[in-house]
Structure formats: C-alpha cells, structure tokens
Symmetry: C2
Subunit: 153 residues, 2 copies
DNA sequence: TCAAATTCATTCGTATGCAAATGATATCAA
DNA sequence: TTGATATCATTTGCATACGAATGAATTTGA
C-alpha cells in the first residue's frame, strides 16, 4: 500500500462521507427510542392513563382551573391534541368543563373531586416512574442528563 | 416561629411531598418535549418525509433487502407501525416489496432506484438536522448527552 | 412425526401529534 | 367607531404508536 493509499484510508476513517450514516447514533432516533421506553415504563405502572392524560391532570392540580388552550401551552400540546385529551378525561369524569363568563371564546377546565383524588393517588407512582426511567444512570449522571436534556427541550 | 416550626419548614423544603410534584422537571415530560422539538426541526429541513419514514429508508440503504418485521426491529417499530410506514413509502415508489422464496411468511422490502437516490440526497441534510437538534449544547456537552441518552434508550 | 409453540404479517381499535381550514369572539388601531 | 388582527376552540386529514386478535407458515420437541 502506497503512502497515498494510507492517507486516503485515514481520511475515510475520520471523515465519513454520505455513504456512512449511522442512524442508530443520531440524536433524533435515540430520542424517539428513549421516549418509547419511558412510555412503556409509564404504562407498566399506570395502566389506565397515558402520560399526556396524566400531565393534564397534574398540571390542573398545580394551577387550578384554566382554559383549554392555556392548559395546552402549559403541557406542550397544540389545540387539536389537548382537545382530544380533555374530551377523554371528561368522558371518564376526571375533569369538568365550563364557559368563561367574560370571554365567551374560552372553555374552562377543572378537576372533579374524582380527578383530584386520582392525581394525588398517582403522584407518588409518577415519582417511581421517573426514577425507573433514569435507573440506567447513576445519580450524578442523571443530574447531568436532566440539565442537558432541559437545554434541548 | 419556634425551633420546631423551623425544623418542619426545612424538612418540607428538602423533602417535597406529593403535593409538590413538578411536571416540568420530570424526565418523561422533557423527553416528550425534546422529541417534539426534533420532529419539528426535521420537518423544517425535510418536508416530504417523516423521521420514521427516513429511518426506514436509511436503514434499508444500510442493510439492503430485509423482511418487514426485521426492518421494524432495526428501527424500533412494532409490526403494525412498520406496516403503515412501508405502505406509504411503497405508494410513493421509494420501496418495493417481494415475497421470500423460501419462507412464505416473509415480505421482503427493498429500496427502488428512486428510493436510493432520495436517501443519498437526504443523508447530508439529516446530518444538519442532527447538528441543529444538538445546537443548544457545546460539543463537549453534546458528547456527554449522547452517551447518557444512549444508556436510557 | 406431529402436535405445540413460535414467527411473520395483517387488521382493528384507541390515543397522541400536528397542519390547515373554519367560525366565533375579542382586541387593536387608524 | 369600525375594520383589520389576533385569539380560542373545533374539525378534518394524515401519520405514528401500540395492544390484542387472527391467520398462515415455520420450527421445535417429545
């Protein structure tokens, strides 16, 4: 092998061209898998509620009555998505809706007594879910990870 | 305030009970948001393909012809999901299907010439998408983040 | 060998998630 | 004041994502 060949080989090894794209190493792909894993852990602990549904309940418990859109922005859901989530929670009697007295465009959402009980019962379990999701990391790693993840989101 | 009151207050501050659950700090919630952000960045660069569709094409480009289920396991999609993705890629002429000669259960998937062209054209853009997704982090932070994220996924 | 278990694929039902269009109401600005 | 904008909510259409059920084909094991 000539010196030129060696040089070419090194360049190839250090600068992968478009023929060497590693899907499994792309942040989007791994982010999707990590999210899938979390949803799966969530479902194993809380079978009758999805993460978005629980997010809506937890946020309502936190801030009290709010409009549907406002709730959506608090839990990072667009208007169309939050509507579906709230509809299903309402059908199960966990939230109730009412019209805003002054601004007739707004639909106010609040927890029912049953919804409040559910959230308060589930919050300790949600803490377990967070812990189990982070279990592959040491405490120190988890702290670093959360800091960096927050920067990305 | 008595010494006892002070002690109670400290305990409360350090050991939040179930009334103090911060949704915005839970790994699942932030993971969902980070994933949403990535999908949005992806869509801004590649409007006519979704991340799962691109993943299927990129993986086919990598490994060549495979069965639908095998492809699914390579890109972390269950059988029902991968079927939908492949159906849509087939309808657009980017992949083609054929029956496995020996094992009649299997459906083989491969790139068409058009599909191959598309992947090769898009891979450099996909690199940009990865970069932009990680842009809020320094190079050092990004390296640490990817290592930890991989552990979680 | 042949019955049981496994694998591959499909279908159905449910639940996000988002873009775009629409309608009602509110706010702003000339 | 009123016409242009903006906001809130709904609806439709499309695309993941997964559990569960089903059927066809293959493999295993007693």
């Amino acid at each position: 092998m000539s010196a030129e060949d060696v040089k070419l080989k090194l360049v190839e090894a250090e600068e992968p061209d478009e023929n060497d794209y590693r899907l499994q190493e792309q942040v989007g792909f791994i982010l999707r898998k990590a999210h899938q894993r979390h949803v799966s852990i969530f479902a194993a602990h809380i079978a009758d509620l999805t993460p978005p549904q629980f997010a809506a309940l937890a946020k309502l418990h936190d801030v009290g009555e709010t409009s549907q859109n406002q709730l959506g922005s608090l839990i990072a859901m667009d208007a169309a998505t939050v509507k579906g989530v709230i509809d299903r929670l309402k059908a199960r009697g966990l939230v109730e809706l009412s019209k805003h007295e002054v601004d007739k465009r707004r639909l106010l959402v609040s927890l029912t007594a049953e919804g409040r009980n559910a959230v308060e019962r589930l919050i300790p379990i949600a803490r377990d879910i967070t812990q189990e999701t982070l279990a592959p990391l040491s405490a120190k790693e988890a702290a670093i990870f959360m800091k960096l993840l927050a920067k990305l989101a």
